[in-house]
C-alpha cells in the first residue's frame, strides 16, 4: 500500500476515524494503531507479518532479559501467545503453502521456553549478555536468511568456481520482505539500549508491538530509537489543528518530492543505466544527476510523508534528511543523509568497534568497516558493498587531510568561509554523484561501462534537452532548498509570508494532482 495511492487515502481515512473514536482510551487506541499497521503491512504480503511478530515477541523477551531481570512465566506466555496467535492469523490465508513458516514459529515458541528455563540458571550479568546475544542472533538471523542467503551462497559458488571447485548447493526461492532491514534494526536498538542501561524494558506487549510496527515508518523508516518513539505510546497523544496543518504540509511536500520529482525523472536515469554504452558522456552525466535527485526525492519524500502522517496522529518522528547535497565533507553528508541509519551505524557499530578511541589506523579501519556494512545493509549486492567501501575511503581521506578542521578554521572569516564552503560542497557533490553511480549500477559491468563512458567526455553538450527536462522538475525543489538553507532548517513553510505560503501550497498541490505519472511507482528504499 503506497502512501501516494487512493487505496492508502481510503485506509487512512478509516483508520483516523477509529483513532479519533478511541482517543480517550489509550490501550484501545494503541490496539487500533497495531491492527492498522498489520493491515497496512499485510496488504503487501500477510505471510511476512510473521517475521515482524517474531521479531517483536523475541525482543520483548530479550529486552526484559537484557535489563538483567528474570523473565517470568507470565511474560513467556504473553510472548508465546502473541507469536503463535499472530502468526496463525497472518498465515491463515495461505495455510496450505505456509506449513514451513508455521513449523518455524512453533520451534521459536519452544525456544522461548527453553531460554526461559535456561536463564534462571544465570546471574544478572550473564543473563544480560545472554539476552542481547539472543536478540542479535534472532534478528540478524532473520536478516541473513531473508536478505542475504542467496547473495552469500552465490558469491561462495563464484569464488569456488574461480578456484577450480564446483560447489553444489541449493539457492532458496526467497522474496525479500519489505521493510525487513528497518524494523529489525529498530528492535535490535531497543534491546541494545536496554543492555547498555539507557532504557527500561516495556512490560506492555501491545505498546511494544505498536512501536515496532508503527505503519508510517514501518517499511522505509526513519529507523526510530525506542527511547524516542516508544514513550509516545505510553501517554495519550495530543492531536491539534496546528499539528494537523503542519503534518499535512509535510506529507504534501513529501508527496510532491516523490510523485512530481522522483517518479517523473526516473525514466531519464533508467534509460541510461539500462545500457550505458549506448549514450554519450553528456547523456550519462544527466542520467546520473537524474538518479541523484530521484533517490533523494524518493527517499526523503517517503520520510517526510511518514513524519507528516505521524504528526497528524500526534506522534513525532526524527528528521531523516537535512539538505544532504549541500554537505561539504563526507562526515557532514552522513549527518544529513538518512540520519536515522547513519546515527544507528555510529551508535551500534562504529562506537562498539572502538570508534576513534584507539589508534589512528584503528579509527580508519572502524570507519571503513562501518561504511562497508552500511553499504551491505542496503542490499545483497557487491555494488552496494563497493558503494559503502567508496564512502568509507573518502571518509578516511577527508579525515587524513583534516578537511573538517580546515573548514572550521575559516568560520571567523565570512568571505573565505563562504567561498571555501561552496567549493567544498561542489567537490563533495561530485563524490556523492559518483557514489550514486556505484549504488545504482546493477552489475559491475554496468559500473565499468558507465564510468568509462562518463569520463571519456565525448559529446558533453548532447543532452541539453534532457538537462532542461531535469531542471523543469528539480528547479522548484532547488529554489525551496535555497530558502531552507538561508533559514538554516528544513521546516520553514509556516515561517514564510502568507502570500508565499498560499502560492507554494497551490503549486505543490497542482503538481501532485496533475503532473504525476499515470502509474504509481514503489519507493526505492522498499527494496532495502
Amino acid at each position: 500500500m503506497l502512501f501516494q495511492t487512493p487505496t492508502f487515502f481510503m485506509f487512512f481515512l478509516v483508520f483516523i476515524l477509529c483513532y479519533l473514536a478511541t482517543r480517550k482510551h489509550l490501550s484501545i487506541q494503541n490496539a487500533v494503531v497495531l491492527v492498522a499497521s498489520y493491515i497496512f503491512y499485510g496488504a503487501w504480503d500477510e505471510r511476512f507479518l510473521t517475521l515482524i511478530i517474531a521479531s517483536t515477541a523475541t525482543d520483548y523477551l530479550a529486552g526484559i532479559g537484557a535489563s538483567g531481570t528474570k523473565i517470568s512465566r507470565h511474560d513467556l506466555i504473553k510472548s508465546t501467545v502473541f507469536l503463535i496467535g499472530g502468526s496463525l492469523i497472518s498465515l491463515s490465508f495461505t495455510l496450505k503453502d505456509s506449513a514451513h513458516f508455521l513449523l518455524a514459529v512453533v520451534a521459536l515458541a519452544a525456544l522461548y521456553w527453553i531460554v526461559g528455563w535456561y536463564q534462571l540458571r544465570l546471574d544478572e550479568q550473564k543473563r544480560r549478555k545472554f539476552f542481547i546475544l539472543f536478540s542479535l542472533v534472532l534478528n540478524l538471523g532473520i536478516l541473513a536468511v531473508f536478505k542475504y542467503f542467496n547473495f552469500f551462497a552465490e558469491s561462495l559458488q563464484d569464488l569456488a568456481q574461480g578456484m577450480g571447485f564446483e560447489l553444489n548447493y541449493v539457492t532458496l526461492n526467497i522474496v525479500l520482505p519489505v521493510g525487513i532491514s528497518f524494523y529489525t534494526f529498530q528492535t535490535i536498538s531497543y534491546s541494545v539500549d536496554i543492555y547498555r542501561g539507557q532504557l527500561k524494558p516495556t512490560t506492555s506487549m501491545m505498546r511494544f508491538a505498536a512501536f515496532v510496527s508503527f505503519f508510517p515508518q514501518l517499511v522505509a523508516g526513519p529507523i526510530e530509537r525506542a527511547a524516542q518513539l516508544l514513550p509516545q505510546f505510553y501517554t495519550a497523544r495530543v492531536m491539534t489543528f496546528e499539528k494537523f496543518k503542519s503534518g499535512s504540509a509535510l506529507f504534501a511536500w513529501g508527496m510532491f518530492k516523490k510523485v512530481f520529482i522522483a517518479d517523473n525523472i526516473a525514466p531519464i536515469a533508467d534509460r541510461v543505466f539500462a545500457d550505458p554504452s549506448a549514450f554519450s558522456s553528456g547523456e550519462l552525466t544527466i542520467g546520473l544527476l537524474a538518479f541523484t535527485f530521484q533517490i533523494y526525492c524518493d527517499f526523503s519524500g517517503y520520510s517526510d510523508m511518514a513524519r507528516g502522517l505521524a504528526r497528524i496522529l500526534g506522534f513525532e518522528l526524527m528528521l531523516n534528511f537535512n539538505l544532504p547535497y549541500v554537505s561539504r565533507t563526507p562526515s557532514e553528508f552522513w549527518q544529513r543523509w538518512h540520519i536515522s541509519l547513519s546515527s544507528w551505524l555510529r551508535d551500534y557499530l562504529y562506537i562498539p568497534l572502538g570508534g576513534n578511541r584507539g589508534s589512528v589506523v584503528g579509527t580508519y579501519r572502524n570507519l571503513t568497516l562501518t561504511m562497508l556494512l552500511g553499504g551491505l545493509w542496503h542490499g545483497a549486492s557487491w555494488t552496494f558493498v563497493l558503494w559503502g567501501l567508496f564512502h568509507g575511503i573518502i571518509l578516511v581521506i577527508y579525515r587524513i587531510l583534516n578537511v573538517d578542521a580546515i573548514l572550521y578554521g575559516f568560520k571567523n572569516r565570512p568571505g573565505s568561509h563562504y567561498t571555501f564552503s561552496i567549493l567544498a560542497a561542489c567537490i563533495m557533490f561530485i563524490f556523492t554523484l559518483y557514489g550514486w553511480l556505484i549504488f545504482r549500477a546493477n552489475t559491475m559491468d554496468v559500473l565499468v561501462s558507465y564510468t568509462m563512458g562518463l569520463f571519456s567526455f565525448h559529446n558533453m553538450g548532447d543532452a541539453l534537452n534532457q538537462l532542461g527536462q531535469l531542471f523543469y522538475y528539480i528547479g522548484p525543489l532547488l529554489l525551496f532548498q535555497c530558502l531552507q538553507l538561508a533559514k538554516g532548517k528544513t521546516e520553514i513553510f509556516w515561517e514564510l509570508p502568507k502570500v508565499l505560503q498560499i502560492n507554494i501550497a497551490l503549486f505543490v498541490l497542482y503538481c501532485i494532482v496533475f503532473l504525476q505519472p499515470k502509474t504509481a511507482a514503489a519507493f526505492i528504499y522498499f527494496d532495502f
Binding site: 498560499i502 497551490l506 503549486f507 497542482y510 496533475f514 503532473l515 502509474t519
Partner: protein, 370 residues
C-alpha cells in the same frame, strides 16, 4: 475587512486563476472540446451548426458541423445524386478527422481520391468522437440508411471493445446479439446544462485547467463505467493503459497484441455487432467494409493492427481493409503517422496513407458502382 465567506470565495477564484496559469506554463493542454448532444435515436450526435476549434501545440483546426450534425462544408441532401457512388463512413474521432482540417480528413480524402481516379463519389461522414461499434450500428440504422449508401466504411479501432462494453446498448444472449438498453448518453445532460452557463463555451475552448480536469474526469468515469459493466473482467481491459515497457517490447518484436490482454479478446460481442452492421448494410442494398485503425502505443512507434482484437473467422463475410503494413513501413523509416503532443490522432500523413489504401481497395475490388 472581508467576511470568511468572501475570503473563501476569493481564495477559490485565486486558486482557479493560479491553476490556469500553472497549467499553461507547466503543462499546456491540447484544447479538444467536444460538441455533442443527445439525439432521438438514443445516442450522441455532433451539435448541428456548431463551429469550434481544436488547439494543440501542433495544430489549430476549425471544426464546422452542418445542420445534419455532419462535419462537412455543405449540406448533404438525402437523395443520392445520379451516377454518384455514395459512401457512408462511421467511426470515432479518427474518422471524424480530429486534429486535422476537413480537407485532410480520411473521409474527405477518399472522396477526392476516387473523384481524381474518375469515379464520381461522395462521402457522408457520420463519425462522432467516442463512438464504438454498438453506436455505429444504431447510426447506420437511423442516420446512414436514409442516405441510401452504396458503400459503408466502418472503422474498427482498439477502443471499440471497451466502448461496446461500456455503452451497454447490446449484449450477447444465447450466442446472439440482443438489445439491452435504448440509450447511451454519457454526461450529455451535464454537458447540456453546462452549455447554458454564460462563458462555459469559452472555457471549454480556452481553459487549460478545465481541459485537464475534464479529461481526468472522463478517464476516471470511463474506467468506473467499464469496471461496473464488465463485471469483474475489466482488469485486463484496463491493463492496456498500464502496459509495461517489457510487454511493449515483446509486442513490438512480434507485431502482435501484447499477451497481457490478448486473453481478453476476441469478445463475441464485437464480432456479433460487426456482423449485424453487415446484415443491416446488405438489407439496404449496400456493401460494408471494415477499416482498420492501426494503433501507436505510447508513442513508441510500435504499430499494431486493431484487427488483432478480432476473431477474423467470425467475421469472414465482411471485407476488411488495413493500412497497417503501410503505417508500419513509414513508421520503421522514422515517419510519424500520429500527432505526439495532442491526443495522438492520425496526422495529415496518417490520414493520407489510410485514405490512399482505402481508395485503392475500393477501385481494385470495384466496390463503387460507376
Amino acid at each position: 475587512m472581508f467576511s470568511k465567506g468572501i475570503k473563501a470565495a476569493l481564495f477559490i477564484v485565486y486558486a482557479l486563476v493560479f491553476g490556469e496559469f500553472f497549467m499553461r506554463i507547466m503543462d499546456p493542454q491540447p484544447m479538444m472540446p467536444r460538441y455533442v448532444q443527445g439525439s432521438s435515436d438514443g445516442i450522441r450526435m455532433n451539435i448541428p451548426n456548431s463551429t469550434y476549434w481544436q488547439h494543440t501545440p501542433e495544430v489549430d483546426v476549425e471544426f464546422r458541423i452542418n445542420s445534419q450534425g455532419i462535419r462537412s462544408n455543405r449540406e448533404i441532401p438525402l437523395a443520392k445524386p445520379e451516377g454518384v457512388c455514395r459512401i457512408v463512413t462511421m467511426g470515432d474521432s479518427f474518422m471524424m478527422g480530429y486534429e486535422v482540417s476537413l480537407e485532410n480528413s480520411f473521409a474527405y480524402l477518399v472522396e477526392h481520391n476516387l473523384q481524381a481516379a474518375g469515379i464520381p463519389a461522395e462521402t457522408v461522414n457520420l463519425a462522432v468522437s467516442g463512438f464504438g461499434t454498438a453506436e455505429h450500428l444504431i447510426t447506420l440504422q437511423s442516420r446512414g440508411a436514409p442516405f441510401n449508401p452504396d458503400l459503408v466504411i466502418m472503422e474498427w479501432h482498439s477502443t471499440d471493445p471497451k466502448d461496446n462494453k461500456r455503452s451497454n446498448l447490446f449484449k450477447v444472449s444465447d450466442g446472439k446479439l440482443a438489445r439491452k438498453n435504448q440509450t447511451y448518453l454519457p454526461a450529455i445532460k451535464v454537458r447540456e446544462r453546462l452549455m447554458k452557463i454564460p462563458g462555459y463555451e469559452w472555457l471549454i475552448g480556452n481553459s487549460h485547467l478545465y481541459s485537464v480536469i475534464r479529461e481526468s474526469a472522463a478517464v476516471f468515469s470511463k474506467k468506473l463505467l467499464l469496471s461496473l459493466r464488465s463485471k469483474g473482467d475489466s482488469k485486463n481491459l484496463e491493463a492496456e493503459e498500464d502496459l509495461s515497457e517489457d510487454t511493449m517490447e515483446v509486442a513490438q518484436n512480434d507485431n502482435k497484441l501484447p499477451p497481457d490482454f490478448a486473453n481478453e479478446y476476441p469478445d463475441p460481442l464485437d464480432e456479433l455487432l460487426i456482423n449485424e452492421v453487415d446484415s443491416v448494410t446488405r438489407s439496404i442494398g449496400a456493401k460494408l467494409v471494415l477499416m482498420d485503425v492501426p494503433m501507436d502505443w505510447k508513442k513508441k512507434a510500435a504499430i499494431y493492427s486493431a484487427f488483432e482484437y478480432l476473431d477474423l473467422d467470425a467475421i469472414a463475410n465482411v471485407d476488411r481493409v488495413s493500412p497497417y503494413l503501410q503505417f508500419k513501413e513509414y513508421s520503421d523509416k522514422g515517419q510519424r503517422m500520429y500527432y505526439d503532443l495532442g491526443q495522438g490522432h492520425w496526422n495529415i500523413k496518417g490520414n493520407q496513407v489510410a485514405a490512399k489504401v482505402m481508395t485503392q481497395a475500393i477501385i481494385e475490388n470495384g466496390w463503387c458502382k460507376k
